[in-house]
């Protein structure tokens, strides 16, 4: 019997096991996180890397915004803290938007995993913390330092001892010290779980390291994606889309070049970086672009350095999709989450039966802030993010999905949980009829939402919405989705971006956008 074939099967089994290890790592984070957006919505990521910093497996549980941004972070850690200086029990941390996953609210932790006295892997994880100080969640900052505490690449634990000074700094720089510190511990714990499981796996399979299985994973994944890409003709496709921007519209322009087994997406022609915090660091542009490509071309190939290495994403420095330090980037998801629509716009020209129409795409996170009667902390202040969504674009053979996140993978938050956490009262949250674009297949519906303070106090809305001026467009003759809107119940129009006060007794009215339709109506 061919031993190579049997060896292949063993490698496949180990690959499956490695994915199970990172899924368990992610599950630990999900269950222990304090930040509601992590635990209720899965805004997190977890992965295992080889000692050179190449990602071997990433949990499917998680958000696309971290797809290869977290992976890049591990490379940055390794440059700052070379392997030979790492000890068992060390943990590294950052929330640098350019080194990590695109804004200060995301903490990334990296832990070397020792087996038989040497580093066999690195575990990394990322999660979104509710509050990291500064002007708070939203695009209101004009540079990154207004957006909160900035943690460079640092050592959080040295040989198992947490850096108490750093933890004290973190606690002192957030409006939610207990939750934030709890989340740091939760991130640390999830890497520990990953490492424990990996060591068990190495023992069971009688391995000293991950070198051979790692090479197998990367090679097989890269080959699978290359084959998928190679099935397309060599060509170049362009697509442009206008989105709302903070106060002036932003033009997104993509050029996709396919040559052999490689796809390159370049965003030359895209608008310049903006004054407010809707700028996107390059790492995050790369994440959502790669995610769109993976969905369309190779949805069943797991994420790792091999599969993701087939996609090359570039944007001109100084454009809104590659905004350098010290640009304000807090609400980078608003534009970042539009990027799969750019990918689909290009691919529709060559794969008209594979990709959907444009969707609401960017999350409609209702972030609210104000005084509370709930004793959340000594200052009696609350911040809450109620995750909500519009509709997705219609598919070539199906309607779009109503009130469903895409590309984000996060879950919506239950109204009853929102109201148990913060003094807000929802008077409406239901589907918005006729908001999906018309067509042979209809776009997904948005939602109508009404919110009032539950304690008769003013509260702030930290708006970060899009598709209000420029709705999701249909494809192949399908109609546009309904645009979103933000207003008060007395008819006052509110801005779709920025901090605004909702006066006591007034209701905030939110209409989330519908998805575009697909095909000429019958």
């Amino acid at each position: 019997m061919p031993n190579d074939a049997l060896a292949d099967i063993r490698f496949q089994v180990m690959w499956n096991r490695l994915i199970a290890v990172v899924e368990e790592q992610a599950a630990t984070l999900l269950r222990t996180a304090f930040s509601p957006i992590v635990r209720e919505c899965g805004d997190l990521s977890a992965g295992v890397f080889d000692p050179q910093g190449r990602m071997l497996a990433q949990a499917v549980t998680g958000t696309p915004g971290h797809v290869n941004s977290m992976a890049a972070a591990v490379g940055h850690f390794l440059k700052a803290f070379p392997l030979d200086g790492m000890n068992e029990g060390d943990i590294f941390i950052t929330n640098d938007p350019w080194m990590g996953t695109g804004h200060l609210n995301d903490f990334t932790l990296c832990t070397p995993c020792f087996h038989q006295g040497r580093i066999v892997a690195l575990f990394a994880c990322t999660s979104h913390l509710t509050d990291i100080g500064g002007v708070g969640v939203g695009p209101d900052g004009t540079d990154v330092h207004m957006e909160g505490l900035y943690i460079p690449l640092l050592k959080l634990a040295d040989r198992g001892r947490m850096d108490l000074a750093l933890l004290a700094m973190i606690r002192a720089n957030t409006r939610q010290p207990v939750e934030t510190e709890g989340d740091v511990y939760s991130l640390a714990a999830c890497n520990d779980v990953g490492c424990t499981r990996l060591k068990e796996m190495l023992t069971e399979f009688g391995l000293d390291d991950l070198d051979a299985v790692g090479a197998f994973i990367l090679e097989r994944s890269e080959a699978a994606v290359r084959t998928a890409i190679a099935a397309l003709p060599d060509d170049t496709w362009r697509y442009a889309m206008t989105v709302d921007g903070f106060d002036t519209p932003i033009e997104l322009v993509a050029t996709m070049r396919k040559a052999g087994g490689r796809i390159a997406v370049d965003y030359t022609g895209t608008s310049a970086q903006q004054a407010k915090g809707i700028n996107v660091p390059a790492t995050y542009t790369s994440a959502y672009t790669s995610f769109g490509l993976a969905c369309a071309l190779a949805p069943d190939v797991p994420n790792n350095a091999g599969s993701l290495g087939c996609y090359h994403v570039t944007a001109p420095l100084g454009s809104v999709l590659n905004a350098p330090y010290p640009a304000a980037v807090n609400a980078r998801h608003i534009i970042g989450q539009m990027l799969p629509d750019m990918v689909f716009g290009c691919l529709h020209q060559v794969l008209p039966d594979r990709v959907p129409a444009e969707g609401a795409s960017c999350l409609w996170n209702l972030t609210m802030r104000g005084r509370t009667d709930r004793a959340a902390n000594a200052a009696h202040l609350f911040t809450i993010t109620a995750v909500t969504n519009g509709g997705t674009g219609a598919r070539p053979t199906k309607d779009g999905l109503s009130a469903t996140a895409y590309p984000s993978g996060v879950k919506g938050t239950p109204v009853e949980i929102n109201e148990s956490v913060a003094p807000v009262l929802f008077w409406r949250k239901e589907l918005r009829p006729d908001s999906g674009g018309s067509g042979r297949y209809r776009g997904g519906l948005g939602q109508s939402i009404e919110i009032e303070s539950a304690i008769g106090a003013d509260f702030e809305l930290l708006a970060a919405f899009d598709r209000v001026r420029f709705p999701a467009r249909g494809r192949a003759g399908g109609g546009d989705g309904a645009p979103g809107s933000v207003s008060l119940d007395d008819g006052t129009k509110l801005a779709a971006k920025g901090v605004q006060t909702i006066p006591a007794g007034r209701r905030l009215l939110i209409e989330t956008p519908g998805g575009g339709g697909f095909g000429e109506p019958d």
């Binding site: 019997m1 061919p2 074939a5 049997l6 292949d8 099967i9 496949q12 089994v13 690959w15 499956n16 096991r17 199970a20 368990e24 630990t28 996180a33 304090f34 509601p36 209720e40 499917v60 939610q176 207990v178 939750e179 709890g182 511990y185 939760s186 714990a189 520990d192 779980v193 069971e204 097989r220 080959a223 699978a224 084959t227 969905c295 190939v301 990709v355 959340a376 909500t388 598919r395 053979t397 199906k398 999905l401 996140a405 895409y406 993978g409 879950k411 919506g412 239950p414 109204v415 009853e416 949980i417 109201e419 148990s420 929802f426 008077w427 409406r428 949250k429 239901e430 589907l431 539950a454």
Partner: protein, 689 residues
């Protein structure tokens, strides 16, 4: 001598077990979907006749059924409406606003049980504290009656926001409907599932309403016909939590019956764990389409509060409807004998989650199946003997199975049929092992050092390899695995659980309010349990579902089964921290702790018969076992392996692996390094050497 009957209605067969003081006989009859009581009556009268007994001799009937589940899967429940808070018409459809598959652009989300036109709203609003923010508009409630009439609604789910905190508006709506339309079946979310989180509460209530008329009709019909046939004994229904309840409770809360079959299997495993004194066990039930794994500690299955029914996308987590009911916690994976194997894009083998089911079934069955399955791989490896399968009813076509493996997998990946079969089996075993490990880990448990209890047609074939992967050194393959669920019913206690959300900080705990809530929950549970087990003093278990303030997932923490006093608070905090640290490795010093929900369960054991003792033959002459060529999974080469007949095994006999032990409906594959022997209970005991 106490005579008991257990009946399990499954999709294809209705299993009947007669128990006479521990001595059991069983029968299988075809399920009669249009009138399920027919098969029940057929089965039980047949088995009684054969035993020379009369209906009047029977002391107790225990019953489980998949009827409620099937009504949901096939969307054949009653015409059901939802009445909810104005502004929240679409809670059932909005769901979690998420996709259960991140990368698949073509997913379909689960279809709500109640369509939009039957989701009706009334002005009213209660807040998180139970305070009325908007008075119920009773005029609007009355105005709905015409709509219900016009749509021919038979059953109504009433589910308002925060009704767990204050059920008054739901109760007033119910009172109006009951007065105006006494025939309407009414399910209130504050009764069915008084817990926070509107999507889960409303979906559970809607599902209850959806199956309730059907179940009430069936249970009423069954009771009448049993009575008419001469049965005068009590009938108890098996619930998803592994406990029994009365017909009355079952007719009111039929949603609690959905997973009774698998629960019976877990109870069977629990019985074995108890008999064999296994502190930690893991049950492994592998059938044609899925595998189910359950952890048992102290001979008790792990419990959960949520179950997902009707997973639309091939058993994918998140693709079904969440039901918040007390349930034996099991992880279910799309990995069964019928699971289809195919090459994937990475040059590997993908097994499942879709299944060839029983029709057309595996290629080897010769019923038109063309895609190779796990069973086909097992046949090609020689570990399911091709001749005399299913008690001699079916010969398996090994060549056809090998041909399919070669064509569909081997040719694509450059493997011969045998290596493709080894790969298929290795991948499916690894998938099950990963699911089991993840399931255990999420609850702070390990799989090693547990005893694996294997039942279901495909489980004994795969159990040894699964055990190896999980670091398990001891396995049990019980007798009667084919009617395992019904046998499990015989060992189930009468029990009932209530859980109610009442959010409180631990450091500001209103002890009197909690005690009052528990008194109420206990009153409800006592009523149910006393009806099913009169005169038996039930055991009481109280649980607090606790978390750090700000977290979203609660963990269950045991409470003393009595009224709380302020001095209980410190031990309760310590208990929470200890549980938390066990689950998550560290606790958070100084963070505030809160309790979101409170649970109470009462359990009254049914008098047990001793387990049937297997009369092993000792008079048999030594005969050489026949042999078969079986492929070794490590080396992928065939070797000669003895095949034993399970019925002919003698106690004390030790069989060293590799070996096969064949019985009517399955084969146990004993791997190299393991030894099998016959336990006095009749179970096969397999241990690592």
């Amino acid at each position: 001598m106490r005579i008991r009957l257990a009946i399990d209605i499954g999709g294809t067969f209705t299993d009947v077990v007669l128990d006479r003081g521990g001595e059991r006989t069983s029968a299988k009859v075809l399920t009669t979907p249009s009138a399920p009581a027919d098969a029940v009556l057929n089965g039980i009268t047949g088995i009684l006749e054969a035993a020379g007994l009369q209906p009047g001799d029977v002391d107790l009937i225990l019953h489980g059924t998949t009827l409620a589940t099937n009504a949901i899967l096939e969307r054949k429940g009653a015409v059901t409406a939802l009445v909810t808070t104005e502004g929240f018409r679409d809670v059932l459809e909005i769901g979690y606003e998420t996709r259960y598959d991140q990368y698949d652009l073509n997913i379909e989300k689960p279809k709500p049980l109640i369509p939009r036109r039957l989701r009706l709203t009334v002005p009213e609003r209660i807040d998180v504290h139970g305070a009325v923010r908007l008075e119920l508009d009773e005029v609007a409630v009355r105005a709905l009656i015409a709509e219900l009439d016009e749509a021919g609604v038979q059953s109504v789910a009433i589910g308002l926001l925060h009704s767990y905190a204050n059920p008054d508006h739901e109760q007033r709506i119910a009172a109006i409907f009951a007065a105006e339309r006494p025939a309407l079946s009414l399910s209130l979310s504050s009764d069915v599932c008084p817990e926070i989180r509107e999507y889960e509460r409303l979906t559970t209530t809607a599902a209850n309403a959806y199956v309730r008329p059907l179940m009430a009709r069936y249970l009423g019909d069954l009771a009448t016909r049993l009575e008419a046939t001469g049965f005068h004994c009590p009938v108890l229904m098996m619930t998803s939590s592994g406990g029994l309840c009365t017909l009355k409770t079952a007719a009111e809360l039929p949603i609690r019956l959905v997973e009774s079959g698998p629960a019976g299997g877990a109870i069977l495993a629990a019985g074995i764990a108890k008999d064999l004194d296994l502190a930690r066990a893991l049950s492994f039930d592998m059938g044609g389409t899925t595998a189910k794994i359950c952890l048992l500690d102290g001979a008790r299955p792990q419990m959960a509060r949520e179950f997902e029914v009707d997973r639309s996308a091939r058993h994918t987590k998140g693709s079904g409807l969440p039901l918040r009911i007390p349930v034996i916690e099991m992880v279910e994976i799309g990995a069964g004998g019928g699971s289809i194997a195919r090459p994937n894009r990475m040059g590997g083998i993908q097994v499942g989650p879709d299944s060839a089911g029983s029709e057309p079934g595996p290629v080897a069955y010769g019923r038109g199946g063309t895609e190779p399955t796990v069973t086909d791989a097992d046949v090609v490896l020689g570990r399911i003997p091709a001749r005399g399968f299913a008690g001699g009813k079916l010969d398996l076509d090994r060549d056809a199975a090998a041909g399919a493996l070669l064509q569909r997998i081997g040719n694509a990946l450059g493997l011969d049929a045998v290596t493709a079969a080894v790969g298929t089996v290795e991948i499916v075993d690894e998938t099950m092992a990963n699911a089991a490990r993840m399931h255990a880990a999420e609850r702070g448990h390990a799989t090693a050092e547990r005893t694996l209890i294997a039942f279901g047609g495909a489980a004994p074939v795969h159990a040894c390899r699964l055990a190896q992967k999980l670091g398990i050194g001891r396995l049990i393959v019980p007798l009667d695995a084919g009617v395992g669920s019904a046998v499990g019913f015989l060992q189930a206690p009468v029990s009932f659980e209530r859980t109610h959300s009442l959010q409180m900080r631990l450091n500001a705990l209103d002890v009197e309010r909690v005690n009052a809530l528990f008194a109420e929950l206990r009153g409800e549970a006592v009523e149910v349990v006393a009806a099913g087990a009169p005169g038996v003093e039930p055991q009481e278990k109280r649980t607090a579902y606790m978390r750090y303030v700000g977290q979203g997932h609660e963990i269950p923490v045991d409470l003393p089964a009595r009224a709380l006093t302020p001095i209980d608070l410190d031990p309760l905090l310590a208990s929470f921290e200890e549980t938390y640290a066990r689950l998550f490795r560290r606790f958070i010093p100084g963070a505030d702790v809160e309790i979101l929900s409170w649970g109470l369960s009462l359990t009254a054991p049914v008098r047990q018969s001793p387990t049937s003792t297997h009369e092993a033959s000792t008079a048999r002459e030594d005969v050489q076992p026949r042999t078969l060529q079986v492929v070794d999974l490590e080396t992928s080469t065939a070797e000669t392996v003895p095949v034993y007949d399970r019925q002919a095994l003698r106690s004390g006999e030790r069989i060293a692996g590799p070996a096969l032990i064949a019985e009517t409906h399955t084969t146990t594959h004993v791997l190299r390094g393991y030894t099998a022997s016959l336990h006095p209970s009749g179970a096969l005991l397999i241990e690592v050497r």
